[in-house]
Subunit: 423 residues, 2 copies
Amino acid sequence: MTAKNAFYAQSGGVTAVINATACGLIQEARRLHLLHPERIGKVYAGHDGIIGALTEDLIDTSLESDADIARLRYSPGGAFGSSRYRLGTLETHRAQFERLVEVFRAHDIGYFFINGGDGSMGAAWHLAQIFAALGHSLTVIGIPKTVDNDLALTDTCPGFGSVAKYVATSMREASFDVASMARTSTRVFILEAMGRHAGWIAAACGLAAEREGDPPHILLFPEVPFDHEAFLARVAECVEQHGYCAIAVAEGLCADDHCNLGDASLDRALSGSLSVGVGRFIAELIHTRLGYKYHLALADYLQRAARHLASATDVMQAHALGVAAVNRALAGENNIMLTLRRLSDRPYCWDIGSVPLDSVAGATRRMPAEFISPGGFHITEACRAYLQPLIEGEDPPPYRNGLPDYVHLQNRRVEKKLPGFSL
Amino acid sequence: MTAKNAFYAQSGGVTAVINATACGLIQEARRLHLLHPERIGKVYAGHDGIIGALTEDLIDTSLESDADIARLRYSPGGAFGSSRYRLGTLETHRAQFERLVEVFRAHDIGYFFINGGDGSMGAAWHLAQIFAALGHSLTVIGIPKTVDNDLALTDTCPGFGSVAKYVATSMREASFDVASMARTSTRVFILEAMGRHAGWIAAACGLAAEREGDPPHILLFPEVPFDHEAFLARVAECVEQHGYCAIAVAEGLCADDHCNLGDASLDRALSGSLSVGVGRFIAELIHTRLGYKYHLALADYLQRAARHLASATDVMQAHALGVAAVNRALAGENNIMLTLRRLSDRPYCWDIGSVPLDSVAGATRRMPAEFISPGGFHITEACRAYLQPLIEGEDPPPYRNGLPDYVHLQNRRVEKKLPGFSL
């Protein structure tokens, strides 16, 4: 019996540390291959994730040098390409699944590692069922990844700690700027943070505030129905008290019926800004009603790609999950998603656990009520205790010519053995 | 004769390194005060710059510890407050200037250091004339500062090198992200950079591209009239060729009559986005005409406050200018602005020169034609040779609890001797 190869797919939005997981996984697979060549062969990465499996577009990671694989640890983005492609169901897309079985058989793939969020875990579970039904044996291991931190059943998600460190640092820095200019210039600074369904990233901005009155003064979470009068009153109070007001808003605010402005003329005045994002909406609301000059920052992809400011804790966990995935698979575990488990806050101790794949899908973890301060505009001490360890430590990349020196892999392809396939 | 004290004002928009200049200036004044107590007394900083002089709101920097002054070197924002307040003319605002003379006499201020852009230099020159006319002797030294790099007569401006390093790093990181997702997600990424009148910051994004085809693929400068058809053709070509297109646009694009879209229906479709900034305008133009999914980042204050990613070269120059300002003043120079002079590109050698204060005001330095590539969408090798040394070197701040540990000075005030004064 020849050793089974592994297939690794990056899936969904990428992060500053998803390549650290790839790094750990490939390094560990190489180590175990050298020791036990009969147990595991090569690691093939899907070009653009699962699309690479469908189109037999496989990257042979064994052709990359050890040095370049090590450099993955500090390079952002998805080195093999990620995708938001969704597999259908066996009923509607039988040909697609038969194709996957065919590709995996053709390339002796017995291990399937999927590095993604809850949608990817659901898809992986579904895939495992179908492969079994089609008579192909496959070990399926999910590795969590999402900047949003909204994946259920894991204490945190690789990617989140680094975006948290980035937004808290950015908020602190911009607030130093605004504070020094407020008397004759900008009174209100707004940072729009990622987080469509949960306020974790906006909450992390709150770590920049260490003492009473420190910026940011207001955090707006999707978990708290937006009360614009209470909000405006709080903004005015901050400007009165501190000379300025620094605000972080999660992009998910107002994305649904929570956004009950209840004021038709205001609605009209703001309708243009609603279509260009919640940050602009909030900014225009303040400007229209309170008259303050504002500045707005949309960190957008900068926040989830900012490997230069990654959390060392986050990088370490992302890498460790890649290592663990290979070990779990070779130890015979199957149909699980690995998780991070918190053993204590101070000192921050953690280990790696697992949950059944089918328990993850569809469950969005939002901020619990005890993490949101009374009034809804800030985080509690319990939230700080949760968030603080996740941003600890720096792990800067090497620099060349004044810029981070990230790796471009060769990404040489595995020779195709099958006819083409259209998506 | 008692030693004259010094007044130091931060003026205009702050930067990641303006406090490094304050640090150098205060450290050097302390050193010279110890050696020659008869030549220079204390350094008083204006709270909110020149406003502090008018309102006799003076910060006694001698009450700060040496350690805290040293920490200014790595803290962003303006530690004493900056302002955009504009002095009038002697004809219209005589009382204001008489007040300044009164405050400076009351506190034995004989040295006036202004740390700002071209507007501040013009105001300082004006002030020097009026002080002379009013019979008060004052040594006036200007120290350049602006992230925009558009100050004439100096090779570069403290603040620019750090924002340049930040935007180039951010563009590289976001491009890694977009490149890995483009097949099924975002095709076009746009970073709106600062620069109302000149494209220096947008140009710096171009440093992220080292090889043919590297992102960013398109840079849009205020210096180049915007040709939307040529631009759209280039975007489509990039997406075709690379799968995605990364763009940096200076906020000054389209701020004037250059923005001749020449298409009434397009104008209407985009009119909403015009009011919310050029980045959104460009994004909507692409979406409307080419249909690509886009992401837009507005780095806003994040770029000019990002001390965590400052250029070591920039920090060194900012600090050296503060040191030099005190030395020039005590050596009897007057009515000058210090400049940075480039002696060679490779190796990058520089020294500090000076120009008469009245030669600086009103002259905006835009990108020269030889720095912009044929077609107008990128930078030339000559531009790279100019920009590259300015982003060299890292000088990270210390971290505490996972975040940069910036200094909050005590900012204790000098006792007032005069009646109040309303601005």
